[in-house]
């Protein structure tokens, strides 16, 4: 499933999801409160991990994602035309000598694709993982950078 973010559709798309998720969220909170002391197990739907943001800095598109437990080598990033794919695996296992009392952080094999709103230069793309946050910086091709056009009178 490809996440499509474009400047004109972003807000409308997200507000639809907001409404749907806020009522689901309220229901789930009621369920959780009955189940335990209010702590919530977060297990997103398939295709929604990791949570990601896309921003436009003017000269580049910047994708950030929450990837707790992962380091640089655990994430694969591929760029194909104007689709960015982030994939990998987050493994969690019971440490040696311990028994699991509670496990909410699941092992996840993930692959999310993002449809980029403009063309980017694959040669100049950089990515890094720090404190469990992935940051992918994609420089736009020169044509995609907004430019001022002088008005002559």
């Amino acid at each position: 499933m490809t996440t499509r973010w474009t400047t004109d559709r972003a807000r409308r798309a997200f507000s639809d999801f907001d409404e749907m998720f806020s009522s689901l969220e309220a229901f789930r909170q009621l369920m959780d409160r009955a189940y335990d002391d209010g702590a919530r197990a977060e297990r997103g739907a398939v295709g929604s991990w990791p949570r990601a943001n896309l921003a436009d800095s003017g000269t580049a598109l910047v994708l950030t994602a929450e990837v707790p437990g992962l380091s640089d080598k655990d994430v694969n990033i591929t760029l194909n035309q104007d689709v960015l794919t982030v994939s990998g695996e987050r493994k969690t296992s019971v440490p040696e000598g311990y028994t699991a009392y509670r496990q909410e952080r699941g092992s996840i094999k993930f692959s999310r694709s993002f449809s980029l709103p403009c063309r980017v230069d694959g040669e100049k793309a950089t990515a890094a993982v720090k404190n469990g946050i992935l940051t992918v910086t994609l420089e736009k091709v020169p044509d995609a950078v907004p430019r001022q056009i002088a008005v002559t009178g």
């Binding site: 509670r102 404190n131 469990g132």
Partner: protein, 124 residues
């Protein structure tokens, strides 16, 4: 960012940030209780952990620096907060914590009283 309405604040009265309970694993060995919590984007200076009257609280504030104009956002600034009831017999002085790759590893060593011990049986 309007997306934050999906993450509602349950306890935050004074804080303007939404509150979110981090996802956790709890493991137990004969020597300690180990809590792992997903806290992406949190740095050690923003993390507060305290144990009081058998209740362990993990709190952390996460601020994301804006990279530009947001085209789509699924996560943002928030306050992580979660409380656990902890059994008596934890040696509070020896509690230690590490934060690596956005995951908190919290070690709660059991005091000697709680450790399983072999009891000698003497023939009487």
């Amino acid at each position: 960012m309007s997306n934050e309405t999906a993450i509602s604040s349950r306890e935050g009265r004074s804080s303007a940030l939404p509150t979110y309970a981090p996802v956790c694993d709890v493991y137990e060995s004969k020597d300690e209780i180990l809590v792992l919590a997903d806290l992406p984007g949190v740095t050690p200076d923003a993390l507060r952990i305290h144990l009081e009257k058998g209740e362990l609280t993990i709190e952390a504030r996460r601020s994301m620096s804006a990279a530009g104009r947001a085209l789509g956002a699924e996560f943002g600034d928030l306050e992580f907060r979660r409380r656990f009831g902890v059994p008596g017999g934890i040696d509070a002085d020896r509690i230690s914590a590490e934060l690596t790759n956005g995951v908190l590893h919290l070690h709660l060593p059991k005091s000697d009283a709680l450790r399983p011990r072999r009891i000698e049986v003497r023939a009487g």
